[in-house]
Structure formats: C-alpha cells, structure tokens
C-alpha cells in the first residue's frame, strides 16, 4: 500500500492516517505470507455470487421478439473486503463495465446476487436502495462527459447532499463542498466555476469529490484514468490511494491497463467474455499466472523498457475476441488458446484452485478457470 506522498500532495491529511497506513502495511505483509485470500479481514463488505447479465437481442419495433442475447456477464463471483482494492482487468467487450453498472444497480441483473454487508442489493428498490447507494459510489471513465456541463462545480459536488439531505444540513453544504474540493486537491474558491473551465485531470478530481461526498464505503472506479494524459494519471492514482487510506475506502478498480491495476490493487480478477478467468492477489496473478489468457494478456503489455522487452517472451494471440452474443462452447478462450484440446470445447472450466496445485504451498495455488492451468512467468525477462 502506498506510503503517503511527500512531494505533491497537500499536508492536510488527518492525523490518524499514519495509523491506518501502518495497519495497511501490516496486513499486506500478512497477505504475502499467507498466500490464500486475506482471511484475517473478516466478513467481506461486498460478495458477488454468480452474477449474470444478458441483454436481449430483439427484432421488430412495436411487437418485439427476442432472437438471442448478448451474454455480457455470465456468472461471475468475487468478494471485496474493507479497505481493499480489487482490480478487474480485461479487454473491451469482456463485460467489466457491465459489472460496474450491475454493482451500482444501474442495470438489473438477469440472475445472481450482490450482497452488501449480507444484504442482497439486487432485490432492493425505493428507499432501501437509496440507502445502499449512499455507501456505494462510482467514479466514471470520461471526465468530459461525466459532469453536467450546465451545472457549477459546487452544484455538481453538492448534488449528493440534495438527494440525501440527511447527510448534511442545508446551511452546512457549501462548507462541505469546499472541504471536498480541498480534499481532492482543488482550490475551494473554484466552487462557482463550470466543468469546461477545468482540464481533464481536474475534472476527474471533481468526479472523485462527488463520489466521496456521501462518505461511501465502496467506490467503483470504471477506467478512472484511461482518458487522462500520462503525467496526470499518476497524480490521480496517487490521490485515489491517499483517499483510500484516509477514509478506509474499498475500491473496485476496473481498467484495461494492467500496469496501473497492479500498482493500485491488492487482488486482481481477469475477465474474458463475461467470465472470470483467474483471480488472486496481485502477486499471484502477475508473478504466477496460471490461465493462458492472463499469460497472453500480460505478455502483450508494452513495457517502456526496450531491453527488458527483448528478453521477455511474448505470446501473440491470433484472432479477435468472439462475439458475446455467440460465445464458444466450453471454455470461452479456447478459440484463441494455444493449449486448447477437445476437453476445452466440451467442458466449461470452473473457477477454482487447479487440482494439481491444491494444498500445495505455492503462489500458483489460486483460482483459475483452465483445464490445463500451468504456471508461467511472462512479466519478467527470461
């Protein structure tokens, strides 16, 4: 977990941050020694079980007929613990953004459950749903479209208080908004400006401030830095890490950039065509991947170091991702996999610790949905 920055972050961090930090460092050390999921963190704050989202494909205008379904998310499960960052990576069309929408209850799940502190939020509506929403917030990908261009920054960050008036009394809101601006590193005097007067990085800070307004416990970040310039990305990532420590937030960090995900995540899930291919701690996934898709994905990441690059093995996948409307039978990755055998077309591999690693004290013993799971280091130079 990040050390609190010294060079460009404000000095207004609350005094108890150092305690949190120590705790975080401590728990990570434990996580590394005990290679299984962090058992010492108690009950997960969020549990996702067999989540499914199919978008019906229809024909006709007035009398619609369903002709199929896009299986955007097809049965995924994972846990999120307090104060933890779970990274979800995958290529476009793998369903990772749909997962974000489902967790936010912006889309109705076709099947499956999402338990927030033991309560299934997919079944909630009305007041109960509104209450849960206070605790799960979202940061969007595109800072240019996620802020209403006709509202001032003060109105945008203050809107959560209008919708949930119980959080802040009316007279207090302006001060609260200014505090939030300060927390995300923006000048509180900019409260009356409009979004188009800010740069991309600053707008993303405004989006983060809006997400923080209701003191949520979980923040879902859908590609929060992919629209930003490289030099600004690092600023925003550092800010998010600082806020996590300060407010003990849990993040679900969805991104396609594997390097950034590794940097910020404690655990990482790799998605392919609506399914979870592999999930484990960042070390397990990046240093000891066992699913061929994870291996290919990692090996394809361009590394800004030509020398390291030359000595790395690269797995170049053939073909494109198949359509989620008509995924391959059995293992969904088999059409692009170099290990594929008959079994892969017939049997859907389950996401579980592979048989051969079961009980073994090795980092390769983490959940991987492959019939022929096998460890392979693709990140380091040979």
């Amino acid at each position: 977990m990040a050390e609190l920055s010294k060079n460009d972050e404000p000095q207004d961090a609350t005094p108890n941050v150092s305690d949190v930090e120590v705790a975080e460092v401590h728990s990570e050390a434990e996580a590394v020694t005990a290679l299984d999921a962090p058992v010492d963190r108690g009950e997960p704050i969020l549990q996702v079980r067999n989540l499914v989202k199919h978008f019906p494909l229809t024909l006709g205008i007035l009398f619609k007929k369903q002709v199929g379904a896009v299986k955007a998310v097809d049965g995924i499960s994972f846990d999120l613990h307090q104060g933890e960052t779970l990274g979800i990576v995958g290529e476009s069309g793998c369903g990772k953004s749909t997962v974000a929408k489902l967790l936010m209850n912006l889309e109705q799940a076709t099947a499956g459950e999402i338990f927030y502190k033991g309560q299934d939020i997919t079944k909630l509506s009305g007041r109960a749903l509104k209450a849960v929403r206070r605790n799960i917030q979202m940061v969007f990908q595109d800072p240019y479209t996620s802020l209403n261009p006709r509202m001032t920054v003060g109105d945008i960050i203050g809107e959560p208080f209008d919708i949930h008036p119980e959080v802040a009394p009316k007279g207090d809101r302006r001060r609260k908004v200014q505090e939030l601006l300060d927390v995300v590193g923006l000048n509180p005097e900019y409260i009356n400006r409009y979004p188009h007067q800010f740069s991309g990085g600053q707008r993303q800070r405004i989006g983060i401030a809006r997400g923080l307004a209701l003191n949520p416990e979980i923040i879902i970040c859908d590609e929060p830095v992919s629209a930003l310039d490289v030099s600004v990305q690092a600023q925003v990532i550092n800010l998010m890490e600082r806020l996590q420590d300060e407010f003990n937030l849990s993040y679900i960090f969805i991104a396609h950039d594997l390097s950034i995900v590794r940097h910020i995540s404690d655990r990482v899930g790799v998605m392919y065509l609506g399914k979870m291919a592999e999930i484990g701690t960042d070390e397990q996934i990046y240093e000891h991947p066992t699913h061929p898709y994870t291996q290919a994905l990692l090996s394809a990441v361009p590394v800004p170091d030509p020398e390291a690059r030359e000595h790395r093995e690269r797995i170049i996948l053939t073909g494109d991702v198949p359509s989620p409307a008509n995924p391959p039978s059995g293992c969904r990755f088999r059409t692009r996999c170099w290990k594929a055998q008959d079994k892969c077309a017939e049997e859907v591999p389950l996401l579980a610790i592979p048989e051969r690693f079961k009980g073994a004290d090795t980092p390769a013993a983490h959940e991987s949905a492959c019939h022929f799971a096998e460890e392979k280091d693709v990140v380091h130079a040979a």
Binding site: D8, Q11, D12, R133, M151, H164, L186, Y194, S199, Q235
Partner: protein, 316 residues
C-alpha cells in the same frame, strides 16, 4: 548547480500556491465562472446577424405593445373621401397619409401598425404552445422509451403526416368567429410535431450521458434527472427550432388570413388579400404589408440562425 532535492515552495509564489492546495490548479490568470449560456451570449453579442435581427424584433415588439406611439390614426375607421385613389405621400413619414389608403379609405400605415399585434401574438402564442406540448411529448417519449416511446412516436408521425396548412384550414373553416386563440389553437394542433421530434432525439442522446448515469447512481429521482440534468442540456436545439418556427407561424397566419380563414380583424394577411385585387391601381395596399411580413419572418429566421451558431459552435 540545481539542487535535485528542491521542492515546490522554492519554485516561485505561483507554484507554492499550487503545492499548498495539493496539486494542479488552473492557469494563474484570474478566470471568471463562465457558464455555457454565458459563452453563447458572448458569441451572440458579436454576431451582426443577431444584432440586426434583434433590433428588428425589438421594434416589432414595441409596435405590438404600444401601437399608439407610432400612429394616431384608427385602422378601422374608413374615410371614403380618402379612397385609394389618394396616392401615398412617401415624404410624410408617420402621418396617416404616409403609405396611402385602401379601398375603404383606411390608412395603410395605421393598419400596418395595428396588424403587427395579430401577427406577433399568433407567432409567439403558437410557438409557446408548440414548445410546451412538443417538448413534453418529446421528453416523455425520449426518457421513458419502450412502449411509451413507440406509441408517442407513432402519434407524432401521424400528425406529422397531415399537411400543416391544409389541416389548419380544415379546422379553421369550421369556425365562423375566429379569435386569436382559435388560430393559435389550430396552428399548434398541427405544429407540435417538429419540436417533439427534436426534443426526443436530444433527450435520447443526453439520457446516455455519463452525468445522467452519475445522477442515477446517486439515487436521484426521475423529475430531478429530467429537469435538472436532461432539460438544460436539450434546450439548445429546441430554442433554435422554436425561434425559426416563430417566423414560420407568422407567415402561416398571414397565409390563412389571405385565404380568408385567418383572424377576423386587422391583420397583414387580410390586407394582402384585400390589396391583391387592386394591385394594378393601388399596389401599396398589398406591397407594404408584404414587406412588413417578409421582414418579420426574416428577422426570426435570422435570430434562429444566430442562436444556432452561438449554441453549437461546431456547426460553423
């Protein structure tokens, strides 16, 4: 030799301020809060089309509300001694004689001034009615989608399919006493479809914007999303269409009057119709109301154009 360990506070006052606030700030130059409407207004003020058209419209509105300021003559009082054979005295600006007299000895100038009220009232009245009805239908269809959208869109298509002028003529034909309200009602009944279509399209595209999704994620109510997030961002195209159609409704009112199906009373259309039969001997009876009508319609179309440019800089 530069000291590598040097940190922000030493790199100047500006940067010290940046560091204190914990990160990047906008340009040091003081910058006022500029809303998008404010930007559009700044653009408009610079456009000569806007200035010309708004001066014209301002004059028209003044005439509408204070016709007495412009002429002392009575537009209905016919003085047959002043019959149309008395030619206009073009040098005599503002007098009842200025633009001549019609067949019944009424001052063409006075009728021009008092006729403005009918045209402007019908134009504004219809535009307001059409914007409310069309805007509402478009908003509901676009926002709720599904069956609601299918039904409302087909309804819009049906009305869109009826020829606008023919429809209003059929309706107005069934009234003998046609007040301003009846004319506005008939025009609006067939005219709301364009705004509804524009609104529906704008709502559908705005509905998918991330900031609307963000508001939903916060748990915002449907009215809040509709009126605080979607409406302000869909107004621009609606305002443009409404402004342009205002001119068109004024033209439509004149057309109806010309055909004898418009307002009973003083109206440019009636005068153009009356003057048509005497165009060879007294062209002014028809000429001046026609010029006035064209100028008015042009003014609103120009205004709409200027507003479009200001609200949507990409069009340029």
């Amino acid at each position: 030799m530069p000291d590598v360990t040097k940190t922000a506070p030493e790199t100047g006052a500006e940067e010290a301020a940046v560091a204190a606030a914990g990160g990047p700030l906008p340009q040091p130059k003081p910058e006022k809060a500029r809303s998008l409407w404010g930007d559009a207004w700044a653009d408009l003020r610079r456009s000569w089309i806007f200035i010309v058209s708004s001066v014209l419209i301002l004059i028209l509105l003044t005439i509408t509300f204070f016709p007495g300021w412009f002429t002392g003559a009575d537009p209905i009082l016919g003085d047959l001694s002043k019959h149309y054979l008395q030619k206009p005295k073009l040098g005599d600006i503002g007098s009842p004689d200025w633009l001549g007299y019609d067949q019944q000895g009424r001052s063409v100038y006075a009728r021009l001034i008092y006729g403005t009220r009918a045209s402007v009232a019908v134009g504004f009245g219809t535009t307001i009615a059409v914007t409310i009805v069309g805007g509402l239908v478009g908003m509901i269809a676009g926002y709720f989608g599904g069956i609601t959208d299918s039904v409302l869109s087909r309804l819009t298509d049906i009305f869109f399919g009826i020829p606008f002028l023919l429809g209003t003529m059929v309706v107005l034909n069934s009234f003998t006493d046609r007040s301003i309200w009846i004319v506005i009602g008939a025009l609006s009944f067939f005219g709301w479809t364009q705004i509804a279509r524009v609104m529906r399209g704008a709502v559908i595209s705005t509905k998918q914007a991330d900031y609307v999704v963000a508001a939903k994620a916060l748990g915002a109510s449907t009215p809040r999303i509709m009126f605080r997030h979607i409406l302000p961002n869909t107004l621009a195209p609606v305002i443009v269409v409404a402004t342009i159609s205002l001119g068109i409704y004024i033209g439509a009112e004149a057309t109806l009057s010309f055909l004898g199906l418009g307002l009973n009373g003083v109206s440019w259309g009636n005068d153009i119709s009356d003057g048509g039969s005497s165009i060879r001997i007294a062209k002014w009876i028809m000429l001046y109301p026609s010029i006035m009508l064209s100028l008015t319609v042009l003014a609103f179309i120009m205004l709409g154009e200027a507003v479009r440019n200001a609200l949507d800089p990409k069009m340029r």
